[in-house]
Amino acid sequence: MAWLRFVLQRLLYGAGLLLAVLVLNFLLIQLAPGDPADTIAGEMGGATPQLLAQIRAAYGLDRSLPVQLLTYLGRALRGDLGYSFFFNAPVTALIWQRMPATVLLVVTALCLAVTLGTALGVLAACFPRGLLSHAVTVLSLVGYAAPAFWLGIMLLLLFAGAVPLFPVSGMRTIGQAGGLLATAADVAHHLVLPAVTLGIIFMAVYSRLARAAMLEVLGADYVRTARAKGLPECLVIAKHALRNALIPVVTVVGLQFSQLFAGAVLVETVFNWPGLGRLAFESILRRDHPVLLGILVFSTLLVIVANLLTDVAYRGIDPRIRVGAKL
C-alpha cells in the first residue's frame, strides 16, 4: 500500500512539475527576440508587411500573451501540442517521427557509458595503484572536460575521414533497399560514432563514481568478513562489493538522463542524426515555439519516468531502502 501511495505521490509531483515546465518555458521563449515570421521572411530573402501580418495572424501570434498561454495550456491538457510554425505539421507527429532516433542514440550511449564506465571503475578500484587506475582517472577527466561537439568532430575526422571506417552523417544510407536485417546493420554502422561520442562523455562520470564507491566498499567490514571466510576475490567483488557500489551509479543514471538529452542536441547536430535534439536546436533558430515547447514537455515526461524507474531500481538493488520510510 505504501508502495502504491509512493508512486501516486511521485506522479502527482510529476504533474505539477510538468505544468511548471510548460508555463515557465512558454514565458521564457517569449523573451527571445524575433518570431517565426522573421525567420520565414529571412529564409525567403524578404517579405511584404502583408505577408508578415498574415503569417502572424495564421499562427495566433497577434493575440495577447495570456490568451496565447491559456490557449496553449488548454490544448496541451487534451494532448494537442499544436502545429509547427515552420513545417505546418502537428508537433506530436514531428516528435514521434524523431523520437526513435534519439531514444536509440541515448539508450545505446547510456548502456555503453554505464557498463564500460562501471567496469573500468571497478577494475581501477581493484588495482588502485596500477597503471590502469591512473589511465582511467586521466581518461575520465579528459572525457568529462571535452566538449561533446569537439569530441564528435575529432572522432569524425579520425574514423570517418582519415580512416574511413564509418559513414560521415545521417542514420542510414539513403535510398538503400534491403531487408530488416540489412537496415538494422546499416543503422548500427551509422550509430557507432555518435553513440561512442555521447557515451565517452558520460562514461567518465560513471568510471569515477564506480571507482570511488568501490574503493569505499572494499574497505568495509563485511568485505573483510567475506575475505576472511576465504571466499575467492572475484566472488567478493562480484557478489558482495559490486552490488553496494552500484547504488550511487544508479542514482546518477537517473539524474543524468536529462543531461544525456542535452548532450544529444550537440551530438545529433554534428553527426546529422535525425533526432529530437537536432529538431530542438533547429526549432530555436527558427523560433518554432510549438515544436520547442513540445520537445521540452516530452523530455520532462521522460525525466519524470526515468526518476521513477530509478527509485524502483533502488529497491531491487538495496532492500534496505524502504520507500516512504522515515529515516
Binding site: 527571445a32 527576440p33 524575433g34 518570431d35 522573421d38 525567420t39 520565414i40 521572411a41 529571412g42 529564409e43 525567403m44 530573402g45 524578404g46 517579405a47 511584404t48 508587411p49 505577408l51 508578415l52 498574415q54 495564421a58 515552420f86 513545417f87 505546418n88 505539421a89 514531428l94 524523431r98 568532430i153 569524425l156 575526422l157 570517418a160 575521414g161 574511413p164 559513414p167 560521415v168 552523417s169 545521417g170 542514420m171 539513403i174 535510398g175 547536430t269 554534428v270 553527426f271 546529422n272 535525425p274 537536432r278 529538431l279 533547429e282 530555436i284 533558430l285 527558427r286 523560433r287
Partner: protein
C-alpha cells in the same frame, strides 16, 4: 565536341537546411528553390548570357507597347500524374505567385491572364514591365497543376506543398525533414531523352565540417551556396575527385555591404558616411580576408548584371581624406583620439563574410577616430529583429539582386519601401525623390539601352550618397564531383533544371 551524354546514376546533392516545403511559388530561398526547380517546370529558362530560352513555352511574344506577353506552350508537356500542362495552369500559377510570393514586384503589373486556347496564355499588364520575362524563370514561376493545387485551400499551407506534382524533369518521391529529399527521373519529361540521371537525393547537412567531410569522402556529389569556409575549399579543391566553380550566381547577384542607419546622428551626415567608406580597404578584404576569392562590389547592382556600371566613385582606401571629412563635419578628436562611438551588427553564421569584416572595420575605423563596438547576435531572428526595427547604427548585411533590379535592388532604395518590421526593406531610411523617379522610369522602360542608362544614372547617384557602403560580392562556390558533366551553369545556376546533368563515370 562533347561526347554524348550518358544515362543513369544517382546524384547526391547537399542542402544546408530543411526546407519548409518544396513549392517555390509561395516560398523563396535556396532550400526550397533548388529541389523545387527540379520538380516544377516554368515557361522560360535562361542561358549563361541572360538570354531567355524556351522551356514550357516554345515561343513567346511581347507586344510593342509592352502590355501583353503571349506564351505558346509546348503541346506534349504533362504533369507527373499524366494530366496535360495547359494555359489554365499557367494562369493559375501566375495568380498564385502574384498573391503569395514575397517578391511582389514580379507580377504586380499583371492584371489578368487570358487563355484563348489550351496552349496559349496571354499576360495582360497594366504597364510595361521589362522584368516580366526573367520573372518566368524556373525558380520564380513554377507551373503548378491547377487540378491539384486549385482546390480552394490556402496555397501557403497546402498539404501538397510537401508532396508536390509538377511537370519538371524529376518526380517527387519522399521528403524526410532534417534528413533527405528523394526525386526520381520523370520518364515522361517533355524534353525527349532528358533528364539523364535516374535519381537525385538531396541530403540535408547542417554542420559545415560534416558537409566538407561528406564531399571529401565522396558521399556528396554536388553542393551550391555551400557554407563551407573558403579556407577549407583550398583543401577540398586539391582532391582529384572534386571541382568547384563560381559560375551560376550571376542572376542572384549576392552583395555584402555595410548599411548605415540614416536616422541616427552622425550617420545622417554624408561626410561621415563617406569617411567610413574611404576607411575601408576593400582589396584587403577580398585578397586577404577572402584569400583572393571574392570581388569588390562598387554599388547597388552586382557586377554580373547587364545593368552594372563601374563608372562610379570607387572609394579606394584614403585615410587622410577620411580624417579630413570628419574634421570638416565638426567631429574633433577627444583626448584619447576618439571622435565618437558607433556599434556594428552582423548576421551570425557566416563569419568570413560578416563577423571577420566587422572585426576588421573596428580596427580600421579606429584609425580615423571612430570607436566601433561589435555587437554579436546569437542567431538570425535576433539580428533581423534589430535591423528590421531600425535599432542599429551600422550593420553588415548580405542582400541578393535576384536577377532583375526591379525584384532585388529597388527595395533597398525606394522611399516607399521604408517599412518598419520588414527585413531587407529600406531599413536605412534612405529617401531621395530623384532616385525614386529614376527607378520608376527604369521599371517600365522596355528599351534595353535606355533602361541601362537609367540604371547607370541611379548607380552614380546612390554611390555618391552612400545609404550603404558596398563591400564585396559574396564568393559563393558550387562543389561538384569531377565526373559530372552538363552542370547547370546558367545565370540561375542551381536554380535551373538539372535535366542536362549526367555522370561521365558514375561512382560505384
Amino acid at each position: 565536341m562533347h561526347a554524348a551524354p550518358k544515362r543513369g546514376g544517382t546524384l547526391i546533392a547537399v542542402l544546408g537546411n530543411s526546407p519548409r516545403h518544396l513549392n517555390p511559388a509561395v516560398q523563396s530561398g535556396v532550400v526550397t528553390g533548388v529541389p523545387g526547380t527540379q520538380i516544377f517546370a516554368s515557361p522560360l529558362r535562361y542561358d549563361a548570357n541572360w538570354q531567355p530560352q524556351p522551356y514550357l513555352a516554345k515561343r513567346w511574344e511581347v507586344s510593342p507597347d509592352g502590355l501583353a506577353v503571349t506564351l505558346h506552350l509546348v503541346e506534349e508537356a504533362t504533369f507527373h500524374d499524366g494530366h496535360p500542362v495547359t494555359s489554365e495552369d499557367v494562369a493559375f500559377s501566375v495568380q498564385v505567385v502574384k498573391e503569395n510570393h514575397p517578391f511582389q514586384t514580379m507580377f504586380a503589373p499583371v492584371e489578368r491572364v487570358e487563355t484563348p486556347d489550351a496552349h496559349t496564355a496571354i499576360l495582360r499588364l497594366a504597364q510595361p514591365h521589362p522584368a516580366i520575362l526573367l520573372a518566368m524563370s524556373p525558380a520564380l514561376l513554377p507551373i503548378l497543376p491547377k487540378h491539384v493545387f486549385g482546390d480552394g485551400q490556402d496555397l501557403k499551407t497546402h498539404p501538397r506543398n510537401l508532396a508536390p506534382i509538377g511537370a519538371g524533369p524529376f518526380k517527387f518521391v519522399e521528403y524526410k525533414p532534417g534528413e533527405y529529399i528523394i526525386l526520381e527521373r520523370n520518364e515522361h519529361f517533355f524534353l525527349k531523352g532528358k533528364p539523364y540521371l535516374d535519381r537525385i537525393i538531396f541530403k540535408i547537412i547542417l554542420d559545415k565540417s560534416t558537409e566538407a567531410l561528406a564531399f571529401e569522402r565522396g558521399e556528396a556529389h554536388y553542393g551550391a551556396y555551400s557554407a563551407i569556409s573558403l579556407r577549407v575549399l583550398d583543401r577540398l579543391e586539391k582532391l582529384p575527385h572534386l571541382k568547384t566553380t563560381t559560375r551560376g550566381y550571376e542572376a542572384i547577384g549576392p552583395l555584402n555591404w555595410l548599411a548605415f542607419n540614416l536616422r541616427r546622428k552622425p550617420l545622417d551626415d554624408l561626410r561621415v558616411r563617406k569617411a567610413i567608406s574611404y576607411a575601408i580597404d576593400r582589396d584587403f578584404i577580398t585578397q586577404r580576408l577572402h584569400y583572393g576569392r571574392s570581388r569588390r562590389a562598387t554599388g547597388p547592382i552586382a557586377p554580373d548584371s547587364p545593368f552594372y556600371t563601374d563608372e562610379v566613385e570607387p572609394y579606394d582606401l584614403d585615410l587622410a581624406r577620411a580624417n579630413r571629412l570628419l574634421d570638416a563635419a565638426g567631429h574633433v578628436r577627444g583626448a584619447d583620439g576618439t571622435r565618437f562611438s558607433l556599434t556594428i551588427d552582423y548576421i551570425p553564421g557566416f563569419p568570413e563574410q560578416q563577423k571577420n569584416i566587422a572585426e576588421y572595420l573596428k580596427s580600421q575605423l579606429k584609425k580615423i577616430g571612430i570607436d566601433l563596438q561589435v555587437r554579436a547576435a546569437p542567431d538570425f531572428p535576433t539580428w533581423a529583429q534589430r535591423v528590421a526595427n531600425w535599432e542599429f547604427d551600422l550593420t553588415l548585411d548580405i542582400v541578393f539582386n535576384w536577377g532583375d533590379p526591379v525584384i532585388g535592388v529597388h527595395r533597398t532604395y525606394l522611399c516607399s519601401n521604408v517599412r518598419k518590421g520588414v527585413i531587407w526593406s529600406n531599413t536605412q531610411g534612405y529617401c531621395n525623390p530623384k532616385v525614386d523617379a529614376l527607378l520608376a522610369q527604369a521599371a517600365v522602360e522596355l528599351d534595353v539601352e535606355k533602361r541601362r542608362a537609367l540604371y547607370h544614372a541611379f548607380q552614380r547617384l546612390v554611390v555618391d550618397e552612400l545609404p550603404v557602403a558596398w563591400i564585396n560580392v559574396v564568393p559563393f562556390h558550387t562543389l561538384y564531383h569531377a565526373d559530372l558533366r552538363g552542370l547547370p551553369l546558367s545565370i540561375w545556376g542551381a536554380f535551373s533544371p538539372f535535366d542536362e546533368l549526367y555522370w561521365e563515370r558514375p561512382p560505384q
